[in-house]
Symmetry: C2
């Protein structure tokens, strides 16, 4: 387990990757300290901030101010908000803007935004001049607990999500837990699904802690900092053991094989389903499927599902608005998922609360039988 | 010095990069063995071949044949020949074609062509699914002795050459010295400038060997294999010591600061100047500049220049057809070169034949005085 260091109201998690190790600073008011924290680690740099049209009016001016006070000159490129920004043409725009500023290899690209901006800016940082410095300032709960940690960057292809990118580690992650208060309740909840995921993977005591403290995590304050730090520590430990995702990093995909299939079936229409909601339903399905396979008790499966319901997350396929899905459609999407290797289906299943494991060789027939039952279930 | 292993008419150079080490096989008839060499190292793969419109009619069918005989199914994408292909839109086409073939992370992208195809295909291999297997089959002399070795991949930006890319090592390089016989004499000569470069960097005995054997290198046969292998070994040694180009890899830029400025001043118009010709003139300038600074004898400088002239390479700025260059134009292009760090000019100069060194802090004034003299020189 990766250590969490506490100092005042904030916490630090270190991602151990040899020469590429870095700190994640988590807490309220981190944004105000961003200039000094960056300047201390990288003196004399210039920076290009990548952000989106929703985040810019909220935090960009403040960000550029604190950088200026620390002696860091910055420019900014503001992209449209939303998943469509993870495209080759937007990547080209960001790359061109960084080059137009004549930043050198030792200068810095800063991602200020959610996972979309982090994935796009990180990819750009990884390829401009074959690699610039890169700093993540995640502003969504999902980005703070998941996408900003671990170095996966990339964009989507018309042929699928996240198919183009590089592994490229940031030099620093600054997670200000106060900026999450401007997130829509729906986006916060979606990020919370990923928080629950860490408990359900292999930390039953964290899952129990969330059952007790979820209201405080949503409200803000020390419990929010604690939750984000625990998730970062969990992800950091996995990443340190498997930087390029060859092995047990797969556990992080709990709920994601079903979740991705649902997102694809809903045509990635965020009015119908956002990623975290897909993951919530996907985790519920993974637990029910595990129960049906006799791996976990019905009681434990229900307990996992109930906590997701308590915070208002969907847990049934039928809760997705719009046209109904068929088993064939979902099976087709599952088969297209890149976690399918050489034709065999790989699922993350569980033997108990917080006892997930990678199940390879799951037969397509069993999955489709299970899904048929789920689609018949009443809304 | 990296070892060269000989077996029959061919030679093997190993690039030592820990877990990313790989072999370069050099010799006549390597193409015919490509299928078995690839299948031996990567059984069960499928491959996407990236090539260009000049190389495809010459070698693509044969390549797909030998792969098929070794049990490797392949598809091909044929790009226009020439530097303009190193663009973001061509990158998008290659990436899409690899994804369309549904290749997985363990499958292979094969670059069959010169440095343009190698740089483009290598970049695509580095970013599709965050990294596929990659094999270089260089078909120009320049690609065999330089661009296919070392893992630098990338494309051009409207703001400059090679500004976007990744360090991404191939798993194997197959250099068939016979395919060089279909190269135009001009392209072969341009590649030969890079061969001479290795001698002039730090191998005076190799430079002397070239003075004696250049005709045989141009004609083909064992001397050509020997020359390519010595260059690969030299580059492999530098790369092994500095994979990501932080330090002494800079010596490989002998002749390139001047050369790149000339290419830029000629608007990258290959009718006026191709890269190797720019390097030839650049090396001549570096030697004359070193003589003017009193670092090397006029006799040694003249000897370096004379060998380039003997094989028909240009060595004077005035040999570049088209509008004359001014000192200001060239100084401006030198200042824009990315090897200029924080305003100081860095040049590779020499203290004798094959005794190059990195000179930082060269004053712009000295350079511009020197260039003024060169531009006044009679054609
Ligand atoms: N790289 C990884 O390891 C990884 C892991 C998980 C997810 N992801 C990627 O992350 C993306 C999803 O990330 P996301 O959920 O953060 O989406 P997002 O970046 O689109 O952010 C969601 C919305 O919230 C807005 N927003 C961001 N911060 C805000 C704030 N503080 N206040 C108000 N509004 C704010 C954004 O403008 C956007 O409209 C997906 O593209 C997914 O593929 C990547
Ligand atoms: N990655 C690196 O480390 C590195 C190093 C040096 C140069 N480069 C890059 O390499 C590129 C130049 O490479 P190049 O000189 O090989 O150019 P190229 O790839 O454009 O090839 C030159 C021409 O020869 C043709 N050709 C290739 N093989 C042939 C064959 N066997 N027979 C007949 N014609 C053939 C091509 O179609 C092309 O028209 C530049 O873009 C340069 O930036 C990269
Ligand atoms: Zn997720
Ligand atoms: Zn060169």
């Amino acid at each position: 387990m990766t250590d969490i260091q506490a100092s005042g109201a904030s916490k630090t998690v270190r991602v151990e990757l040899g020469a590429r190790s870095y700190d994640i600073l988590i807490g309220p008011g981190i944004l105000a300290r961003a200039g000094e924290e960056i300047a201390r680690r990288a003196p004399g740099i210039r920076a290009a901030i990548v952000t989106d049209e929703t985040v810019a009016p909220l935090y960009l001016a403040r960000m550029q101010d604190v950088l200026r006070q620390a002696g860091i000159a910055s420019s900014a490129i503001v992209m449209p908000a939303g998943e469509a920004t993870k495209s080759l043409s937007c990547l080209g725009e960001v790359v061109d803007s960084v080059l137009a500023d004549r930043l050198e290899r030792g200068d810095t690209v800063i991602a200020l935004g959610g996972g979309v901006i982090g994935d796009l800016a990180g990819f750009a940082a990884g390829i401009v001049r074959r690699g610039m410095r890169f700093i993540q300032i995640p502003t969504t709960l999902l980005a703070q607990v998941d996408s900003s940690v671990g170095g996966k960057t990339g964009i989507n292809s018309p042929r699928g999500k996240n198919l183009i990118g590089v592994f490229y580690q940031p030099q620093l992650v600054l997670a200000d837990t106060e900026v999450l208060s401007t997130l829509s309740p729906r986006e916060f909840r979606a990020g919370y699904a990923e928080v629950v995921k860490y408990g359900l993977i292999d930390q039953p005591e964290f899952f129990e802690w969330l059952e007790q403290h979820h209201a405080a995590v949503f409200a803000g304050g020390p419990e929010r900092v604690e939750a984000v730090a625990r998730c970062c520590a969990a992800k950091a430990a996995v990443v340190a053991g498997d930087e390029q995702e060859h092995g047990n990093r797969a556990l992080l995909n709990l709920g994601h094989t079903f979740g991705h299939a649902l997102e694809a079936a809903a045509n990635y229409d965020s009015a119908r389903l956002v990623h975290g909601e897909g993951v919530a339903i996907g985790m519920a399905l993974a637990h029910r499927f595990s129960a049906q396979l006799g791996l976990i008790s019905g009681q434990d499966a229900t307990r996992a599902v109930r906590h997701l319901q308590t915070v208002g997350l969907p847990t049934e396929i039928s809760q997705i608005p719009g046209p109904r899905f068929t088993v064939d459609l979902l099976m087709d999407k599952i088969a297209q998922d890149k976690k399918v290797s050489k034709g065999k289906l790989t699922f993350i299943l569980t033997r108990g609360l917080g006892q997930s494991f990678v199940a390879r060789d799951i037969s397509a027939e069993k999955v489709s039988e299970f899904l048929a039952g789920q689609l018949d279930a009443p809304a």
